[in-house]
Structures are given as C-alpha cells and as structure tokens.
C-alpha cells in the first residue's frame, strides 16, 4: 500500500513572542511538526505495518520544514516530498491544498492519503477536505478508528452526538483526530536514521498548473490576542477562599 501522510511545519506557538507593536516575531521562531500531525503520521505508519508498503511524507514549507520532515521520517516515514515554498510566497489554504494534491498526483499510485484534523498554528481544518476535492477522492474526516481492507477504508467518526461508521473506496483521503492512536516516540537510532532517508525537493512554482486557484485571499495583519483579565487570587482556608469567590461572582452578576 502506498500511503501519503500530509505534514505541516508549524511555528511552535508556545515559544512565539510578540514584538512591542504586538506582532509575532516570526523571524528565527522555532518550528516543528504540527502537534496534531503526530497522530496523522502514526496512523500512516500503523497502516503500513498492517498492510505493508511505503509511507511518503509530503509537506509544503520553507527550508526550515526539514525539521518536521525528519520528525515524521523518524516515526516511520519511508521517504519524503518537500514542496519548497518560502514564507512570503507561501500559498493560502486552497492553493496549499492544490499543491499538495499535485504532489500526490506526481507520486502516482497512492492508495491512501492521511492527514490530521488541522494544524496547530492556524487550525482551520480545511486543507484535508480540499486536497480530497482536488484529487477527486472520497474524504473521511475526524476519523478515530481507521481500517483498510479489500480496496476500502472504513472509519469511525464522532459527529453530532453520534458515532458513525463511514466507508469509502480507495484511494481516499482520511483525517484523524487525536483519539485515533497514541503517537510513538522514535528511538535515537530511528532519529539518526531519519536523516539518511531520501527527501525529494519540488519548487512550489513547478506545481503551478493552468487550474491553479487564485482566490485573492490574504492575511492582512496578525496581532497579539488581547487578554485583560483581573487575575485576582483568593486565599485563606478552602472555606474562606470559596466564600470570597462566591461573593465576587455575585458582584459580577454571574451567580
């Protein structure tokens, strides 16, 4: 089985600082594989272990995305395709999905495309669905259990207070939630071996076909989230603190 796993190199949001004007300091900011993608990679590797085959890690990002690629390779990726797009020219979500789909088409003969439910930095959760549309493949989102057999994929999905079992013919695109699996921690040996696995680089411009989506979508500004909370701590015995809290909540008219 040829399995593609879509991985994003994301800014480590926990480390990201704002400059005095409230804008994020992206230059030199630490990047890593988007947290949720660990579940995507784990699922791809699990499917490979169950069915045999290869796991091809596909990512779109700047030169610093190599770190995310290596993390995915250490978890069990066989090889990688890196669509090189440096940040100022980075495409929007629809164009990103288009480029990822183009790369999957180039790889050819792909049975399953796995991704996570969204990226840890933007968390819009739309690229997986868009990739499926560009590939004209079925898309099962938010899978918490994935099984492939007899040319089909069968997934459990939690939606609207019910659990649904969905089925689609392969090739298909599946996005997994964190309930799907427990990501493995690679050993030091696996981390070192990951550096030797092949990475194919494709300039983003080379994927720019006649049907490239030009949507005129742009990020105008990014500023720090305003947070003006009172940050008042109540002390004393549990009973005293609880009483003070209840009084404060009454003052706020929320009790």
């Amino acid at each position: 089985m040829n399995i593609v796993v879509l991985v994003k190199s994301a800014v480590d949001e926990a480390e990201l600082r704002a400059d005095p004007s409230g804008h994020p300091v992206l230059k030199g900011a630490a990047v890593k594989m988007s947290n949720f993608d660990m579940n995507g990679v784990e699922e791809a590797v699990k499917q490979k272990e169950a069915n045999g085959g290869t796991v091809i890690v596909v990512t779109l990002g700047g030169a610093d995305a190599k770190k995310a690629i290596k993390e995915a390779m250490a978890m069990g990726g066989t090889r990688a395709v890196h669509i090189l797009a440096e940040p100022p020219a980075a495409p929007d979500s629809l164009a990103t999905a288009y480029c990822l789909a183009q790369a999957v088409k180039r790889i050819g003969d792909v049975d399953l495309v796995v991704c996570s439910e969204g990226a840890s930095d933007t968390y819009q959760g739309e690229v997986g669905a868009m990739v499926a549309e560009f590939l004209d493949m079925p898309f099962i989102a938010y899978a918490r259990k994935v099984a492939t057999a007899n040319g089909k994929v069968r997934c459990e999905q939690g939606l609207r207070g019910a659990v649904r079992v969905l089925e689609a013919k392969l090739p298909a695109v599946v996005s997994v939630v964190s309930e799907a699996n427990v990501p493995r921690y690679p050993t030091l040996l696996q981390v070192m071996a990951a550096g030797k696995k092949p990475i194919e680089e494709i300039p983003v411009a080379s994927l720019n076909g006649p049907d490239y989506p030009e949507t005129g979508t742009e990020v105008i500004d990014i500023t720090i989230q305003p947070a003006d909370r009172k940050k008042l701590l109540f002390d004393g015995t549990p009973e005293e603190a609880a009483k003070k809290l209840v009084d404060a909540l009454k003052q706020e008219a929320v009790l």
Binding site: E13, A14, L16, P24, F36, L94, D121, T122, Y123, Q124, G125, E126, V127, G128, A129, M130, F134, P138, F139, A141, Y142, R144, G158, R160, G161, A162, R164, V165, L166, A168, A172, V177, E179, P213, T215, G216, T217, E218, V219, I220, D221, I222, T223, Q225, A227, R229, K230, K231, L233, F234, P238, E239, A241, A242, L245, V246, L249, E252, V254, L255
Partner: protein
C-alpha cells in the same frame, strides 16, 4: 449587484446566528440574505432575510459530501456574494469542499466579519489562539462563523422557497450510525460551564466537578487529555482548539493548567475562574479569579458556598 449572501448551518442552534451574520454582511454589501436549509425547513429558524430549502435526489444533510454538492449546485446556478457556514465539524467540511470545488477564497473560521473595499474580512485565531489574524478575500468567498458572535433575530423569514438540486452519489457511504454513545455536553451554548482537567486523579473524582456543576446549574466540559488520552469524558465535552469554542458567562476551570490550546476555546467567556494547586499554572494568567490549592478541598468547599448562596 453583488450576489446574495448565503448562510447555512446543520445545527438548529447555530442556523439563526449564521443567518444573522449573513443579514449583516448582506446589508454591508447592499444585497440579499438567503438562509439555506437542507432537506426540510426547521421550524425554529429565524432570519430577517429569506429562506431557501434545498431538496435533493437524496438526503442532503446525511453526509457532508451531499450537503456540499447541494449548496454548490444552488450557488453555481444563482451566483452568490459570500457563503457563511456555522462552525461545527460538519460545517467545516462543507465549507472546505464548496471552496475547493468553486475555487473561491476560504477565510477560515472566526467571529467578526466586515466588508472593506469590496472584500470580506474575518478575524480568526492564529498560533494556537495566542494571536488574531485578520484575513481578507475578494468575493465570492466562503467563511465559517463561530457560535456566539451574532444574535439570531426574532423575526420569521420574509419568504420561504423550495429549490430542487441534483447531487448524485456521494463518495462516502454511512455503514452504521450508533446514537447515544456520545452525549452532546451542551457546552457550546451553556451560560455556565464547569470544566475538569488533569488535576483529577481518577475518573470517579469527576463527581466533585459534577456536584459543583449541579449546584451552579452549569454544563460540564473538560480539557483535551480527559477526553482524548484518558477517555474519561466524551469527545463532545472537550473544550479548546480542537474541541468546542465556548462563550459562557462563567467558566470554572478545575485542575486545568491552561495550555494555549485550551485557552483558545475559553477566551470569550465573561468570567473565568481557575482552581489549581500550582500557582505558576498559566491558567491564572487568563483567569479573573483564582484559588491556589488542592482541588479536592477547594471544590467541595465551593459547592457548599454556592449552595448556601
């Protein structure tokens, strides 16, 4: 004239809010607002615009693929200025599919919409909710609207029309549906929420949070580890970036450290209360009121104090 602003949500709770967002954007654009309903009109839908009920050759709302196809057929035939969809898992899928099939801009999910220089502008979370991104797209485009940003009108729709669409076979089939396994925690629209985190040592101890919730008349939710890693609560109860965004009057976080991903989902709460044994826990930085201490002592005392009024 710009095409109509279409709104849609499969959630009866959200449909009126998204219709209100649609009406506001339509006014800014000088065009009509049309709330879309699939398969049948839900009795409670209120909008200052009109309603179009889309009926397909199969149940449209059964699966995101069919819902997207139905909306797409209508949007392609009639044209549109913007399509606003309520933020749920289902809605997110439908929005992405429609944007990809039409190759129009997708603004993502956020709360505040405005029109600027003929473009639709949306403010949405960035970098785990630590920052706010302002995103703009030329028209037509698609945006996902989160709960709590707009208030549904009380007015019944001006007109209701039924339109038939042909959608064809969806690529995904439903093999089985198991109801009742997941309980809708009701947190998305709750006025008060008690939320539990890793500070609880075992599942049975959640009864303490439940007692407080009962005393407050609050819904109960949790941070990601409890639903995802430990499975103590259902997926629907999970609050945060990958779960529900909530906007209660009162949010009580118990034994929750306050990771960015959790805070992203609670920042629209009016009052945030934190109970945690670690004074350095980041949750205290985003809370209005806090008590540093052992939740096993604080929570019962708080429940008692609430009951005593």
């Amino acid at each position: 004239m710009t095409g109509a602003v279409l709104s849609y949500s499969e959630s009866a709770e959200l449909a009126g809010e998204v219709a209100a967002a649609g009406a506001e954007v339509a006014t800014m654009l000088g065009t009509d607002a049309v709330a879309l309903e699939l398969d049948e009109m839900s009795a409670g839908l209120r909008t200052s615009g009109s309603v179009v009920v889309l009926k397909g050759d199969r149940a449209l709302e059964a699966i995101a693929d069919s819902a997207a196809s139905g909306i797409l057929e209508f949007a392609k035939t009639k044209g549109f200025g913007a399509l606003l969809i309520g933020e749920t898992r289902f809605g997110t899928m439908v929005a992405a599919k429609v944007a990809a099939r039409l190759k129009v801009g997708s603004l993502g999910k956020g709360k505040k919409l405005r029109v600027d220089g003929g473009r639709l502008v949306l403010e949405r979370d960035a970098y785990g909710g630590k920052f706010v991104a302002t995103v703009a797209s030329k028209l037509p485009c698609v945006a996902v609207v989160q709960a709590g940003a707009y208030r549904a009108t009380d007015a019944p729709p001006r007109a209701v029309e039924t339109v038939t669409v042909a959608v064809g076979e969806p690529k995904v089939a439903i093999a089985e549906t198991r109801h009742g396994q997941e309980r809708d925690a009701g947190i998305k629209s709750a006025a008060k929420i008690v939320s539990a985190g890793r500070g609880f040592a075992k599942k049975e101890d959640l009864a303490l949070a439940q007692d407080l919730a009962s005393a407050l008349g609050a819904a109960i939710g949790c941070s990601r580890p409890l639903s995802s890693d430990l499975g103590w609560m259902g997926e629907e109860a999970h609050i945060g970036l990958t779960g529900a965004y909530v906007h209660p009057q009162l949010y009580v976080a118990i034994g929750i450290s306050g990771q960015l991903q959790h805070v992203a989902g609670i920042k629209d709460s009016k009052i945030i209360v934190a109970i945690n044994k670690d004074r350095q826990a980041p949750i205290f930085q985003v809370a209005d009121y806090g008590i540093v201490g052992d939740l096993y002592e604080i929570v019962p005392a708080l429940t008692k104090a609430v009951k005593q009024g």
